[in-house]
């Protein structure tokens, strides 16, 4: 049953429940459990909007403002992405969450041999500032913030976003962008890394430093426990590893003489909603509290707002099944319920067809509607942190806190996150857990509705899922645009800006202002990433077993 371990007696009654994070659940909770756990209202919860923010970041939470909805969008050409952006905004979405194709994510232009067959496939293809100008045309950039799902070349995309906004007449102070920019999690899961670990971390540091000084409304890094969880981590590890990654970035920026107080308020997080409902709720509440405590106690951060664990709780990809895809609509709704019961600030839901394909407008709208139902029909905005005080929820929230701290200690005892990723330790651990979980799923130890243990269900043809077709013409169009660009841009500006970038990269100067200049000169993503490839080299993945 579920993602937790259930032991039943011969009559089918549940005898034992153990969550993935290692928390054992009792059949009944009462006041004695809170007493035993040493629970204290002021110490462990505090009023909503007050330290340690277990209950909520804001005193009125969804009463004052519903969560932000930010579905993941972007495919094909910048023109098509622009149309989809406008559709989502017209349907009430108030932030963008931009997907890039793999060549862009890996720093290759559309005409690079390695880009073949991939241009525009899983996100939009961006070669130069021209493409950004097309994709964001007519979007009110002072009002709509953009999450950019980009990591290895996040510095380049951040610079490009600024250059694009400037060309549209906005100042860099007005715009708000949140590049994902979490390279360490790419090395654990998702795999869109390019440069060796230390250079990857340095680029993250550059972007944070630059945002602190130049982009007051932008959030330079979004740390993703999400993908770590998808790769096989438990919920407690998801939070623990994300916090250890955050520490690695904080340390890099602190070395530049900037105080944590000046920049940690710009961090945001991306966490997964997949799993046992109660465990997720405990996870989010414990995470908000631990983050605030860590910043206060270890980094001396004092200003209230800078202690907020802000972020997107969403997705849930691992929970979706290819079999009976319509079931994923209901799954998504329950995941969203978990996120809203936990006080999520921003939510994006996987669409029901995402186990197969890029969501169609129909499935993307279903996800938006699911969230609207919770907001406007079901009553999730009625009161702040409705589960507070539950004997069960408060007990497991405290237990979750301990589990997260244990996982963090393990990483720190082994030399910290940079080391644990460089030597492959975390990747091996997470992969072997994923393997054990998959075996459990196949043996029936864990259950997903619609899946018969040990059977590949060949009959469940999914005729109802409309596939998002890949269009060869996208690549042709991108290549033609690129050719045209190379003929029309000012070559001297390009060469000079790239040369200056190379020097900055080599001499440990912050690369951001140099990238902005390259973008304005219409240097391509491949050219800028190429400079980094030359200067930093590429990462060699450690063996995974």
């Amino acid at each position: 049953m579920g993602v937790a371990k259930y032991i039943k007696d011969e009559r089918g009654a549940i005898k034992e429940v153990t969550y993935q994070s290692g928390i054992t659940v009792k059949p009944v909770y009462g006041p004695e459990d809170l007493k035993k756990a040493g629970f204290g209202y002021d110490k462990d919860l505090g009023s909503p909007g007050e330290y340690p923010f277990t209950r909520s970041l804001h005193p009125q939470s969804y009463r004052s403002r519903a969560w932000t909805t930010r579905q993941y969008t972007g495919f094909g050409t910048p023109e098509e992405t622009n149309e989809r952006f406008k559709l989502m905004i017209a349907n009430g979405q108030n932030g963008l969450n931009v997907a890039f194709d793999l060549p862009t994510q890996m720093g290759y232009d559309s005409d690079h041999p390695l880009a073949e067959g991939e241009v525009g496939r899983v996100g939009m293809a961006i070669d130069s500032l021209k493409d950004f100008e097309t994709a964001f045309a007519g979007i009110p950039l002072d009002r709509i913030g953009s999450g950019l799902t980009i990591n290895a070349v996040a510095t380049i995309m951040m610079a490009m976003y600024q250059a694009m906004a400037e060309n549209f007449g906005y100042s860099k102070e007005q715009i708000s962008t949140t590049p994902q920019n979490d390279i360490l999690k790419e090395m654990i899961g998702r795999g869109a890394w390019i440069f060796p670990v230390e250079h990857g971390v340095r680029l993250v540091g550059d972007s944070i430093e630059y945002a602190v000084k130049e982009l007051p409304k932008s959030n330079p890094v979004s740390i993703c426990g999400y993908h770590i969880r998808e790769s096989g981590a438990t919920p407690a590890q998801e939070i623990a590893y994300a916090f250890e990654i955050a520490k690695a970035y904080i340390d890099n920026v602190v070395q530049r003489g900037i105080k944590p107080e000046e920049f940690v308020g710009r961090f945001s997080f991306n966490f997964n909603v997949y799993g046992n409902l109660w465990e997720q709720i405990a996870k989010f509440r414990a995470a908000r509290k631990l983050w605030a405590k860590m910043l206060k106690n270890e980094y001396g951060v004092t200003e209230k707002k800078k202690l907020f664990l802000r972020g997107l709780f969403g997705g849930g990809g691992s929970g979706l099944t290819k079999e009976q895809p319509e079931n994923n609509i209901m799954r998504g709704a329950y995941y969203a319920l978990g996120a809203t019961l936990s006080g999520a600030q921003t939510i994006a839901l996987c669409s029901f067809d995402e186990a197969y394909t890029i969501p169609t407008p129909r499935s993307a709208l279903l996800s938006l509607r699911t969230l609207e139902m919770l907001m406007d029909e079901v009553g999730l905005r009625d009161t702040v942190d409705p589960l507070a005080g539950s004997y069960f929820i408060e007990t497991i929230t405290l237990e979750m806190e301990d589990k997260i701290l244990e996982e963090m200690k393990e990483v720190e005892d082994l030399g910290g996150m940079v080391k644990c990723i460089s030597n492959g330790l975390i990747q091996r651990k997470v992969s072997s857990q994923a393997y054990e979980y998959e075996k459990g799923l196949q043996s029936g130890e864990y259950r997903k509705v619609g899946i018969t243990p040990g059977k590949t269900d060949k009959k469940t043809e999914t005729t109802d899922v409309e596939l998002h077709e890949y269009n060869e013409a996208w690549a042709e169009k991108s290549k033609a645009n690129l050719k045209e660009l190379r003929l029309t841009r000012n070559d001297r500006d390009v060469t000079e800006s790239l040369k200056a970038l190379e020097k900055a990269a080599r001499t440990n100067k912050n690369v951001m202002p140099y990238l902005v200049k390259c973008c304005h000169a219409y240097a391509t993503v491949g050219e800028m990433a190429g400079v980094f490839r030359e200067t930093f080299g590429e990462w060699n993945e450690p063996e995974f077993y």
């Binding site: 793999l102 060549p103 994510q105 890996m106 290759y108 390695l114 880009a115 073949e116 067959g117 991939e118 496939r121 899983v122 790419e186 899961g189 998702r190 795999g191 869109a192 890394w193 998808e230 790769s231 096989g232 099944t321 290819k322 079999e323 186990a355 197969y356 394909t357 992969s431 072997s432 994923a434 393997y435 998959e438 075996k439 196949q442 899946i451 040990g454 059977k455 590949t456 269900d457 043809e461 999914t462 596939l467 890949y470 993945e541 995974f544 077993y545």
Partner: protein, 132 residues
């Protein structure tokens, strides 16, 4: 091939996609089933995959593709295998593969297709059956 010999499998991630959980857990399952498993690592070009397959004299190349580019990638690799006289090696493909693409892949010469959700048992049996 003789049954006493272990089947040698190269689990390979072609192209730019980095979603490697499936590839890794299948590699672990095949290893536990007694096969010799080589994992290519991420971001491999087809040339690199061919080279590893030759150096390691594998019996099977198992491609893991999540990006949707399984048709062009498989077609190209099969062409290269033929060209280099390596068409003895069996090619299998796993990942996000829509059902309607399975016949197309088989027609190209892919020996087995294991879409996401295929059980370890079916993958192991499917691979063993290629040598019966």
């Amino acid at each position: 091939m003789e049954t006493t010999n272990k089947i040698r499998v190269l689990i390979a991630k072609p192209g730019l996609d980095g979603h490697d959980k499936g590839a890794k857990i299948v590699a672990l399952a095949l290893r536990d089933a007694g096969m010799e498993v080589i994992y290519s690592g991420l971001h491999q070009t087809l040339d690199q995959i061919m080279q590893t397959a030759t150096e390691e004299s594998v019996d099977i190349i198992g491609l893991s593709i999540m990006s949707g580019a399984h048709l062009p990638i498989s077609e190209k690799l099969i062409g290269m295998m033929k060209e280099q006289g390596l068409d003895e090696i069996r090619l299998t493909v796993g990942g996000v593969i829509p059902h309607q693409d399975i016949p197309k892949l088989k027609k190209m010469g892919v020996a087995e297709v294991f879409p996401g959700g295929t059980s370890f048992e079916d993958i192991i049996t499917g691979m063993n059956n290629l040598f019966e």
